[in-house]
């Protein structure tokens, strides 16, 4: 089988593994999946199996984790994955409006990707940033606060 994870990614996973006692290698599974996804944008079956192999876990045990948390993508996503929080505090402060605006502007619904493969829109859960509602997360790592339609336009313009 061809190796999917680069040596750099493997080195990063090794750092995660080193945080736990040797016999608890599997504790690094969430970090390893994050690293794998950052490198490949989404977690294919083969990638999940490779992470499992690397951590000496059963593939289905890794899949349990990958499918439990909604920030792991088990299907291909666009170049920019936009996650909009619609939980209650955000919803009360414009989260739903922001989501609706994005849907209409990109012409896609939740869980869909634009035809050019640039954007994927995802409905998110509370990100612990309710004070800055409405919030949007770009590619899981970049948090954007107070996303009014104007701010959204500006942000989208920056994303190439």
């Amino acid at each position: 089988m061809p190796q999917l994870l680069s040596n750099e990614a493997r080195a990063l996973i090794d750092r995660e593994v080193a945080k736990y006692p040797a016999e608890h290698k599997r504790s690094a599974v969430m970090g390893a999946l994050r690293i794998a996804q950052t490198e490949h944008r989404w977690l294919s079956e083969e990638l999940v199996a490779e992470v499992a192999d690397y951590l000496q876990m059963a593939p289905v045990a890794v899949y349990e984790v990958a499918s439990f948390y909604n920030m792991y993508d088990l299907k291909p996503v666009g170049r920019y994955k936009l996650t909009v929080c619609t939980n209650l505090p955000c919803a009360l402060s414009g989260g739903v409006t922001a989501a609706e605006y994005l849907k209409q502007k990109l012409g896609i619904g939740f869980g869909e990707t634009t035809a050019d493969g640039k954007f994927t829109l995802v409905e998110g859960e509370c990100m612990g940033a309710c004070g800055s509602a409405p919030v949007m997360l770009v590619n899981n790592h970049k948090m954007c606060a107070s996303m009014t339609p104007d701010e959204i336009d500006k942000k989208l313009g920056e994303l190439e």
Binding site: E45, A49, A58, V60, A61, Y63, S67, F68
Partner: protein, 767 residues
Amino acid sequence: MLEIEIDGKKTTVAPGSTVMDAARALGVHIPHFCYHKKLSIAASCRMCLVEVEKAPKPLPACATPVTAGMVVKTHSNAAVTAQKGVMEFLLINHPLDCPICDQGGECHLQDIAVGYGAGESRYREEKRIVPNKDLGPLITTEMTRCIHCSRCVRFTEEVAGYQELGLAHRGEHSEVMPFLGKTVNSEISGNVIDLCPVGALTSKPFRYTVRAWELSRRKSIAPHDGLGSNLIVQVKNHKVMRVLPLENEAINECWLSDRDRFSYEALNSASRATKPQVKKDGQWIETDWQSALELVAGKLKDTVAAHGRDSVAALATPNSTVEELFMLRKLMAGLGVEQVETRLRAADFRLHTAGATWLGQSIAELAQSDAVLVIGSNIRKEQPLLAQRLRQSAKRGMKLSVLNPARYDLLAPLAGELIVRPDQMVEALLTVLKAACEAAGKTAPAHIDLSSIEVCDASRSIAATLTAHSAILLGNLAAHHPRYAELHAAAAALAELSGAKLGVMSEAANTVGAQLIGAETSGNLFASPKKALILLNAEVQFDCHNATEALAAVRAADFVVALNPFADGVKDYADVILPVAPFTETSGTFVNMEGRAQSFNGVVRPLGETRPAWKVLRVLGNVLGFNGFDYESSEAIRDEALAGDIAPRLSNALKAPVAVKAQAASGLVRLGEVPLYQLDALTRRAPALQATADAAEPALRANAATLAGLSLKAGDSACAAQAGGKALLCVREDTTLPDGVIHIAGSHPLTTGLGGLFAPVTVERAG
């Protein structure tokens, strides 16, 4: 000890016990789904909520540790309200399709819903639907019924040793599934059917055949491996419909291997012989018992008279009962014939022990060992449930090591490992023995030559694990080995030196019983040609060490009588086929590897004109006019055959020393394992088992270096040849094998053209 009161009853329990443990000790039933005494605590179903005094809300009994003076109420208003609430939620997404569910009538959910469920559901919304999963030929799924107790998931991980099932996704979207595209391939996978408290996982072969309440339950004993698992055989209209475990903590606990669970399908196979048959001018003609037996008696008597008693021999499989073997031996003795043999897959008959070889201790004691060294055994496939026990022990800290001709995955932590060519197993064992000698400052017995042996680190570390409270076990690959006597002798010396107990894991259900009644008298029967042969349950092409040699011998014999439940296996070479009962159609006794004699009754009527073999042999004795063939029952035979205590007649100690000396090895050597589902006539005919991954066609397997040396690659066709014959096989790469080893399974239609299971082999590319 902690005191606890449950429903007014007081008891004391050890610290660390849960409320569920205490309730069970008191005989108080708390409804539950996810709790199982052999699995870790998940506390995921919440059905076991109980009221605990001073606790602000109901607590799950299965996950709540007992504290001193705890007062628990399982039937108070608060407890019952909580339990009913949980039940209502569990039923929200359950399809309630009991009328078409195989689990109906034996379903925990159904039972508990009767006790705690409401008569009508308040839930009016849509129910979820979960796609079914393909788990292979043994287990059928109806995943919409799943209540996510995770018992099946925990079983694969904790008991079977490898997590083949997972609980993927979250909340309402949770689904039990194997990893994408995989099936469940464990050799003990069928236990998830028993564990599943609902009808999500049910038996595929049994599906839609009959309702659970139409079946009667009869006790029996598994006829395959040496464990002797206790069975509940379920029957309807004199047909075996299903096999379940009968719990026996000392033997199979609450489990069953897939072989024991699903082999029953063969009992109803179309290849069963139902009438005596005689071959006349190459044609098979059905006949009546009287004429068939008279013919057999006449032929045997005439052959002895004309050619002497050494021209006749009897072969029986070690799956035959004590009663059958005893009668066979007695019949042969009447004829003056001494050659009776059950060690059909053995190749070395130099070993003589002081008694019947056995496990050396009880199964339960073995599991308590500090260390176990397994020699020559693919133990998961040979003794699936014993492997499971050792896995649990290894997880608790027992040091498990192996000396094997391939790196079999035991799915358990290993303390040491020596993987060598089959023809270097004796030498590898000698390195461990020498290491033990050096560590103890002692010398090996004079009959063992350690002069040329070089100790390595691996053997030193294995030797170091062996203490007075440990065991050394010999498996099938040792028993079938051409130098078994040396392996046994070296293992015995190692045991003596370290204080470990030596044990032999018997291949078949009655291997120990066969020895106890002396049905192992001749060694290699085929060493000299025979005029007449009696085959009891034996299909020589599959049951013997060297298929080519065995087939040539039966073909060369003038007269072959086969006592067998099946006709198709012996038709080619038999002259008379006498249909005899499989284990479900006769009473009998098996003596398991720990020396425990377990008797069982027939659970159904014999099929057609089939007769129990012990009765057939009794009548043969009478037709021949021998004395002492008037037993009234199989019990009378057993009482004579096993008279007295068995324990003193078990011994792995050598009666005479066996010279052990290192030998060099070169060239290619065959590793001829007997596949899990080729062990005996029943398993070979069980369709569901034959559809499993373990029953895949044998290939020619070798590691990359060996293949490269032969200019072969995976996917090629190759011709393997051994003295006397050949086989054409597909080539596969196998990273578990040492250099120079060619793995070609034995006991299989594709490989009956080959010779010895561990003999040299040559390989050539075909086509």
